[in-house]
């Protein structure tokens, strides 16, 4: 029994993998076996760690020679293991933290149920409904029930489940039905996380609406109370904001700045964070400078230290003159004015089909493009020429001169905010100048301080962003996130040790070359000669030594000789060896599978 079962397992596993290679019908079996194998390979690493611990503990308890080193090994082992398994110092993974939203636990069972008098589509392959809706979708008495508020993703998954237009229309109907009546778009339900989520702050008005959308019971009331409590938490940091920092009226109820304290009520979303750090801070974009301005800039810089050298002047000129592509602005606005046709819903399509339309077109006709008129275009070019930085003024002026849709406004601000900032340009200039010459401390300050201020503002906003956030999954972070102790262990202990251990080989190969390679006979000489040619041919030396050989005999150049040696003789030799090894592996594998070779089972019968 103790020997037969393992022999059987070996044979079955092996032959399943072999046969599945040839028989597509059971390909999945082979895949399954390979997946088990991969999982066991991971467990083998754990076994390896366990074995190491056992071995060194024994060495310590027996006080064997060098047991002190065993102690070092165990300390290093346990320390690294704990840091990694506990994910010490790992921030949570950003993409599952839902920044800016506040969660409160809310089981699926407590959500309202919606139903329609329809059936699931017939599917020949008996594929179950998509996993994302499985907990919420049920069928009984000819009714399709859905518990909770359906998300866009769930809708997408359901749409794909059936082919027919009727099914798609049904899914749309169900989707509309399952949207909360009052708080649609403002409060979400995540079934996977079994949580109600509010963006920003839960206001009193929203509170009542939310209670209307949820089942009328104690549990809903408690959940909503909790949401109010969590979303109204105030967070603040001390910071000196940039001079031009302003908070737009629309957000002034949530975000305030007073007496060196920046305060936010509720959590901060990533979009809001970016706005505060960039848009509201009012950092100016880097516009190209004129000759006079460049000269002025240079004088200003040279007042603070030594004169620039020739190369530095060149760098300065080049960087300050670079056009960030402002002339593309009209094109950007015009392309934003061209809108594609929106896709039709399945409901609309069904209606069209029922009314007798034969060729169904799945999209609405595209609306007419909104393009800039000549007055608007002129305004833009004079705006660019003037070197003005007041983009809001430009937008309102454009609006007064002709039509300007929201997409275009977004495109303008997006374009403007995408431009490099003045502070960044100064910083890059400083780096560029330092590469080709010296700068005094004053000059460096002049060039670098704006970037440093921009950075420290960014860091401060980031601090507030993190402080205002309520962590949802503290254990979700990467175990080797940069900056945490486990990463540190890799970067400064494991990586150097691994690299250096292998670097030792360079020394041993040199010593072996000196001692072991003797041109005792023809064979050995062939080996040595080839090694010489390859060593020379794979560096610039080989090329340089024989570059005088004319082109038609280029095969005699050392670098070319290397190529032919590798391509012909090395390929041939290794191919012969490869064929031999392949036969060897095949025969040993067969021996193992057929139970002829049982050495892996060990000899003792226990």
């Amino acid at each position: 029994m103790k020997r037969t079962v393992p022999l059987l397992i070996t044979a079955i596993a092996g032959f399943v993998l072999i046969i599945s290679f040839f028989l597509p019908a059971i390909q999945e079996w082979g895949e399954g076996a390979a997946i088990w194998f991969d999982i066991l390979a991971a467990l083998a690493f754990i076994l390896g760690g366990g074995n190491l611990l056992k071995l060194h503990l024994k060495s310590i308890s027996d006080q064997q020679a060098g047991w002190g080193y065993s102690a070092v090994t165990i300390v290093a082992f346990l320390g690294t293991l704990l840091l990694g398994l506990l994910k010490v110092g790992s921030p949570p993974t950003p993409n599952v933290e839902y920044y800016g939203e506040t969660f409160v636990p809310f089981p699926v069972a407590m959500m309202p149920e919606f139903s329609v008098d329809e059936q699931l589509p017939e599917r020949g392959d008996r594929e179950p409904v998509p996993a994302s809706v499985r907990r919420q979708l049920s069928v009984d008495n000819g009714k399709l029930n859905f518990r909770g508020w359906m998300s866009e993703n769930q809708k997408e998954d359901l749409l794909k489940y059936g082919e027919t237009l009727n099914w798609k229309r049904l899914v749309e109907e169900l989707f509309d039905l399952t949207q909360p009546e009052n708080v649609g778009g403002k409060v979400k339900y995540y079934a996977d996380h079994e949580a109600l989520a509010v963006s920003g702050v839960l206001t009193e008005e929203l509170e009542q609406q939310l209670l209307d959308d949820l089942p009328d019971n104690e549990f809903s009331q408690q959940a909503v109370d909790k949401l109010i409590e969590l979303t109204n938490v105030e967070t603040s940091i001390s910071v000196e904001p940039p001079e031009a920092f302003t908070i737009p009226d629309s957000e002034s109820s949530r975000i305030q700045y007073a007496d060196g304290e920046l305060t936010i009520v509720g959590p901060m979303s990533i979009a809001l964070r970016d706005k505060i750090a960039n848009l509201w801070a009012g950092f100016l974009p880097a516009l190209p400078l004129t000759d006079a301005q460049i000269e002025e800039f240079q004088t200003e810089l040279e007042e603070r230290g030594p004169e620039l050298n020739e190369e530095q002047v060149e760098v300065l000129d080049q960087i300050l003159r670079t056009d960030p592509g402002l002339s593309a602005l009209p094109l950007v606005i015009n392309s934003a004015g061209i809108r594609p046709g929106t896709p039709k819903t399945a409901g609309e399509l069904v209606e069209e089909r029922d009314s007798g339309v034969l060729d169904l077109v799945p999209v609405h006709l595209a609306p007419d493009p909104v393009l800039l008129n000549s007055a608007q275009e002129e305004t833009i070019s004079s705006f660019i020429e003037s070197g003005s930085v007041d983009i809001t003024a430009l937008v309102s002026e454009l609006e007064s001169l002709g039509p300007l849709i929201d997409e275009q406004k977004t495109a303008i601000t997006g374009f403007w905010n995408g431009l490099e900032r003045e502070a960044t340009r100064k910083k890059n200039l400083g780096i560029g100048l330092l590469k080709v010459g010296p700068l005094s401390r004053d000059q460096q300050e002049f060039l670098f301080v704006p970037a440093a201020e921009m950075y420290s503002w960014d860091v401060a906003v980031g601090e507030l962003f993190i402080a205002a956030h309520q962590v949802k999954y503290p254990w979700s972070g990467e175990f080797s996130a940069q900056g945490n102790p486990f990463w540190w262990t890799y970067e400064y202990v494991l990586q150097p040790l691994m690299t250096t251990t292998f670097a030792l080989l360079a020394f041993y190969v040199a010593s072996a070359a000196f001692r072991a390679f003797r041109a005792k006979n023809l064979e050995a000489t062939l080996l040595l000669g080839t090694a010489f040619i390859v060593l020379l041919g794979r560096t610039y030396l080989g090329t340089a030594m024989t570059v005088w050989i004319p082109e038609q005999y280029s095969a005699l150049r050392i670098d070319q000789m290397t190529v032919y040696i590798m391509k012909i003789f090395n390929t041939a030799g290794n191919r012969a060896i490869m064929i031999g090894i392949a036969l060897g592996i095949a025969s040993t594998s067969l021996k193992v599978l057929l139970g002829i070779d049982r050495s892996y089972l060990g000899s003792n019968e226990d």
Partner: protein, 301 residues
Amino acid sequence: MTAEIADPKSTRSERQVWAILGLLFAGWLIYRAVIIGAGSAYVAEVNGQYQSATYNDFLVGTAVYSPARTVGIWIAAFLTLCIFSFLYRDNPFYKFAEAVFVGVSAAYWMVIAFWTVVIPNLVGKIWPAWIQSWAMPGLSPIRDDSWWMFLIPLVLGGMLLWRLSPRGAWIARWPLAFIIGSTAGIRLVGFLQADFISQIHNTIVPVVVVTDSEFQFWESVQNILLVISVLSAIVYFFFSVEHTGVVGQVSRIGVWVLMVTFGAAFGYTVMGRIALLAIRFEFLFDDWLWLIDPAHKRLGL
């Protein structure tokens, strides 16, 4: 290693020389570290995430000095020198570094296996809702239909770990048998197809190469040489026929081909080894001692 090197007893004068050299080196290191700042590291932190930064960033003011990473660089340099010290002779520093290496790498492997395979591919398949609720929020909390298939590796895995127990060694043989069997199954097909059949197939090349109805002399010579070389090398491996007469001659050519092959392999091996050493020296000279700055990371110093 010759006897005199292995002898751990050093003479007194040798010890003195080393002591003086060591002191000089230490003094120079202190100078580099304190006066120049060598081995310093910088970091930028935004949104609670850390990013490596260079001295340039620090100069500009967009990064701060990182004591933890600076210590890290000095420890990395120390460990590097510990390993290199083995070239002189075996010594406690080397043994210490080796012990650390063994411990850290075993733990590292274990942690990786745990978080990247055991959690998502085994436990996460059997109890997805539980894993989703704390470790992997991105996972779907719904079980696959074939989730029960993962009970088998769970059981086999448990049996494999039984090896650590002093009793019941036979228990670990089942998973071992599975590992051996699947390895044999995977390799049998892989090697036969890629290294046997395909290699024979790759060797069947035209010995007279004609492109656009023009005879390609040089291409043909190459192909002829290749085919002859492969065949003769294979003949050398035929041990069932005695290597005399024609077979002997051919197998002799085969040996030559193999010798050229080994020579090429040696040349390439040397090439690889040296690059491995170069990257280590680059670390010592660039990141640690700040003697060179090929990437212009430290402007204005």
